[in-house]
């Protein structure tokens, strides 16, 4: 299968057109469907592509959150070693303890927009990942009609779906191993790769630091809103005072009050901008780190399997030799089993090594991606703060000549 990248250079020999291959996806138009407890949000997923595997140049499908979850789970299963792009959380579980009244929140405009943005980023990351973009599941997700999608979703059985409890256990194991290594208590069945140990430690600590930064970023959003609210209240009170005072002073108060109210609006806007363009990317970064942890867990599982099989093979070999010496009738069967085991072992080793190789590549990609993402978030943050500060300065400065004029009268 041809490795396709979208740098635009390589083309499939079958494709007659000279246009470079592209795959552009967007998630738009959230709409509330259904009523009451059954209600959910549906999104339009628009695919524009000239790839032959896709039906036509443009396709629009309707998807809901659980469809995205399906896609993520399938990719996680199939592409071990790759950091699957993260999904936004289900609404009732949030990293923000500040969220109360989760039910109502599910349908607030703010939450819906946040989620839409995150889902859009999710699909786009998949579509631009050189391995993941070739996934059959992605194609199903982007093209299948709703009934097919629903069937696929409900077919998820225990084979594919790791129960949260299992994943939890794996995380715990990984974590305890990390700390064990840190504490110097080596356990068996563990990669003794110092670079990898360092990496694991890095990932875990990174998550803590990021979570703290994100927490404060969210609080900062709230503070903007609060400041906006108090400016509005202040403005109103000052205007009332102005009405009571009358004349020049009264006018001055009124103008101040009006400016105050105007700035309040700007603050609310900035709060929203901060949320979407700074806090959300930080949260996304945290989720991405979780995804890396998931892969770490997979690698640990694969390693354990590989080791276990190696052990089993060794034991089997000893048995087999014993049987050979005794020229038992079971020798032939035993040899079959031995060969099978060797094949399995080979398979397990290959799987593990592929994960290792992929992880190394992924780490590079991950770090680069994050530098860009975070850099952009910082840029937006700084721009927003600058814009806000300038607006505030302008508003107050514009009052000064009026104040001077009034006071001299």
């Amino acid at each position: 299968m041809q490795q396709r990248s979208f740098s635009g250079v390589s083309q499939s020999p079958r494709s007659p057109s000279k246009q470079p291959p592209y795959l552009a996806v967007s998630v738009t138009d959230p709409a509330k469907m259904g009523n009451g407890v059954q209600a959910y949000i549906s999104y339009k997923v628009i695919t524009k592509t000239n790839l032959p595997e896709y039906q036509g140049l443009e396709k629009i499908v309707i998807r809901r959150y659980s469809d995205f979850v399906w896609l993520r789970d399938r990719l996680f299963e199939k592409y071990k070693g790759i950091f699957i792009p993260p999904l936004p959380e289900k609404s009732t579980v949030g990293t923000n303890k500040a969220l109360s009244c989760a039910e109502k929140f599910r349908f607030t405009a703010e939450f819906i927009e946040m989620r839409r943005q995150a889902l859009d980023i999710f699909v786009n990351r998949i579509a631009s990942h050189h391995e993941l973009q070739q996934s059959e599941d992605l194609r199903i997700f982007l093209q299948a009609d709703e009934q097919t999608m629903e069937r696929a979703r409900s077919q998820e059985t225990g084979i594919f779906k790791k129960k949260p409890a299992d994943l939890m256990q794996i995380f715990k194991d990984v974590q305890s191993r990390v700390s064990d290594v840190v504490l110097g208590k080596e356990k068996p069945v563990e990669e003794s790769n110092p670079d990898y140990e360092k990496l694991k430690r890095y990932v875990f600590e990174l998550e803590d630091h990021l979570a703290e930064a994100q927490k404060h970023a969210y609080r900062l959003v709230k503070r903007h809103r609060e400041l906006g609210q108090s400016l509005s209240d202040f403005g109103r009170a000052v205007k009332l005072l102005g009405a009571c005072e009358g004349e020049a002073l009264g006018k001055a108060f009124s103008e101040l009050g009006t400016k105050s109210e105007m700035l309040s609006v700007k603050l609310q806007k900035e709060a929203q901008h901060l949320l979407m363009n700074f806090e959300e990317p930080l949260k996304d970064y945290v989720r991405a780190v979780h995804s890396v942890k998931g892969t770490i867990a997979e690698r640990a599982a694969a390693f354990r399997q590989h080791c276990d099989l190696a052990e089993t093979i060794k034991l089997k070999e000893i048995d087999l030799n014993k049987l050979r010496l005794t020229r038992s009738e079971r020798t032939v069967d035993a040899e079959h089993e031995y060969e099978e085991l060797k094949a399995d072992g080979e398979e397990a080793r290959r799987r593990f090594e592929m994960i290792v190789r992929l992880m190394n590549e992924e780490m590079v990609r991950f770090q680069e991606e994050k530098t860009l993402d975070v850099g952009l978030a910082f840029h937006e943050f700084a721009k927003g703060q600058s814009r806000l500060a300038n607006a505030i300065a302008d508003a107050w400065r514009s009052l000064l000549p009026k104040l001077e004029a009034c006071s001299s009268s």
């Binding site: 630091h209 979570a211 001055a252 979780h290 703060q385 500060a389 009052l399 006071s407």
Partner: protein, 566 residues
């Protein structure tokens, strides 16, 4: 999410304590320039503000130099167990160039009237007085003293005295610089004397008595609070154009030892001659000259029982009786002003409240910005130390500039808040001033009530004489006892007439005082509020501009990441 449950026990170590954050943030040596203004030890806006204690005062770490960033870092027990080694925050957050972040107060060119009218300015003690007639007072050095007179009886009554230091160029005083020791009780006496002598004036309200246990009385905090309150009060008195020339104030400030302000009349004499002078005949005593000071004082509860009773009866008649009272408040202009002031009081109270919330919101946002900055500082340090790829170092550099900016912005917010508080404090001052205004208005109404009472008294006396004369004329040769009674009543009427004239004079005097004070209030309010608004606006604009330039720099530096066309 999944990994979080295990993180709990580590949280306490990884996240800095607020104090640590404070120390990281507060290291700007230019803050030393702030000593031009009085340290606001207690939040001027109100004692109900929860965050009052946290606004940094000049005696904080503000004077540390930038290089002590590291000093603080090593001093505070840094609980961060980041597995590294010798590095500190210093190389992460090198001392920013504070040249571009000089935090001068923006109202350097705010003209403080040093003539004493600007009663809230704290600059009287530090800047040389520029006008001819200054009266500058400071309160300091609280000392515990023993009340020797009662020590045998109550087993050692201790109280606190304060050193009142005055510098003045007013000719009324004997000297230009002197000090006395006073206790709070003396202040209460001063305040009472002033309200008696200066009825109708807007006399600044004295600090509360605070009925608390002696334990609390001696606590450092309480004493300090009281010291500040006393100083403010005395300065306000000194700022009042009439009161600053009063004997009462002068004696209080000048005369060492026991305070020579006695009550005009003491309890005993009031009971016997005092208020009961008015309807003399009950006591059957000869009518003497009416003591003006009696009439001139409002009826005080507990002592002038009879007078109180009469005036109460009068006020009931005013309110419920069908007939109009003999003299009414007719000054339309006054009534309008009064109503307006009531409205004003309400609005000021409202604005004052909202101003408190605004200040708090500003402070909060600054605090959170600082915490965000700190979190990024830690992240920067982490990425730099753990960097395997070049891209991590790039990211760390970006993070560092954001962290620095956030910390700077946090400091700016903090400064802005402190300045805002100083400006908006004016609102609170005027709220207090309204109390004085209401007191002056009530002086006026009680004086009016006295006049009305006397007038009613006179008319009922006349009525009685009429009745007696009518009855007496029916008896041939006259009725001796009745005639005697009539004579007595006539005497009473004369005395009451005198009293009435006094009362009317007093009422008119108070009205005049009210009028002048209202004019003064209007003018001062006009000036004060304009200055307040200007100061507020200049500050907000100035700090916003500084913040804008801080963030502009970061936006510039991270321009490369911008999406096309953004």
């Amino acid at each position: 999410m999944m990994g979080y449950e295990n993180q709990g026990h580590e949280e306490a170590h990884l996240y800095a304590t607020p104090e640590e954050m404070e120390s990281l943030v507060l290291t700007d040596n230019d803050d030393s320039s702030h000593h031009q203004s009085q340290p606001n030890h207690h939040h001027p806006l109100s004692s109900s503000l929860p965050f009052a204690a946290q606004i940094p005062t000049d005696d904080d770490h503000l004077l540390a130099s930038p290089s002590s960033l590291m000093h603080f870092q090593s001093q505070s027990q840094n609980p961060i167990p980041i597995p590294n080694h010798s590095s500190s925050f210093k190389f992460i957050l090198e001392p920013p160039s504070y040249a571009d972040a000089v935090f001068r107060s923006f109202d350097g060119d705010h003209i403080n009237e040093t003539n004493g009218h600007d009663s809230s300015s704290g600059d009287l003690s530090s800047s040389p007085p520029s006008t001819v007639e200054y009266l500058s007072i400071s309160v300091s050095d609280p000392q515990k003293e023993q009340d020797l007179a009662n020590s045998l009886v109550s087993g050692g009554n201790t109280y606190v005295t304060y050193l009142i230091t005055t510098r003045t160029s007013l000719p009324d005083f004997n000297g230009s610089e002197f000090s006395v020791r006073r206790r709070f009780k003396d202040v209460v006496t001063l305040s009472d004397r002033l309200s008696e002598s200066y009825r109708g004036f807007f006399i600044p309200i004295r600090p509360d008595k605070n009925v608390v246990e002696s334990q609390v009385m001696q606590k450092q905090e309480f004493v300090e609070q009281r010291r500040v309150a006393l100083e403010k009060y005395l300065r306000r008195l000194a700022a009042h154009p009439v009161i600053r020339r009063s004997d009462e104030l002068r004696l209080f400030l000048e005369v060492d030892g026991r305070l020579p302000l006695v009550r005009n009349t003491d309890v005993a004499s009031r009971m016997l001659d005092g208020a009961v002078k008015l309807p003399r005949q009950l006591f059957g005593e000869s009518v003497g000259a009416v003591d003006v000071s009696e009439v001139v004082q409002p009826a005080k509860g507990g002592r002038d029982l009879l007078r109180l009773f009469k005036e109460l009866k009068q006020s009931v008649t005013n309110d419920w009786g069908g007939a109009k009272p003999p003299v009414m408040e007719e000054d339309k202009e006054f009534l309008e002003k009064k109503e307006k002031l009531q409205d004003f009081e309400q609005q000021i109270s409202n604005v004052s409240q909202q101003a408190e919330s605004l200040v708090k919101a500003q402070q909060d946002i600054g605090e959170t910005m600082g915490q965000l900055g700190l979190a990024f500082v830690k992240l920067t340090k982490f990425e730099t130390e753990e960097a395997v790829y070049e891209t991590q170092r790039v990211r760390a550099a970006d993070m560092k500039s954001v962290a620095t900016a956030a910390v700077k912005a946090s400091r700016l917010y903090r400064e802005l808040t402190a300045q805002t508080v100083k400006h908006l404090d004016k609102l609170h001052e005027y709220l207090g001033a309204m109390l004085a205004v209401n007191q002056a208005f009530s002086d006026r109404s009680s004086a009016l009530l006295t006049v009305q009472t006397l007038l009613s008294e006179l008319s009922s006396l006349h009525l009685r004489i009429e009745k007696l004369e009518a009855a007496s004329s029916k008896i041939f040769g006259g009725d001796r006892s009745r005639i005697r009674k009539i004579d007595e009543l006539k005497e009473t009427i004369r005395a009451t007439e005198d009293a009435k004239s006094c009362a009317i004079r007093e009422y008119e005097r108070i009205k005049e005082n009210n009028k002048n004070e209202l004019e003064r209030l209007d003018k001062e309010r006009h000036d004060d509020f304009f200055n307040m608004l200007k100061g507020f606006v200049v500050n907000q604009a100035g700090y916003a501009e500084k913040m804008a330039s801080v963030w502009d720099m970061v936006a510039e530096e991270t321009n490369g990441y911008a999406k096309d066309g953004s």
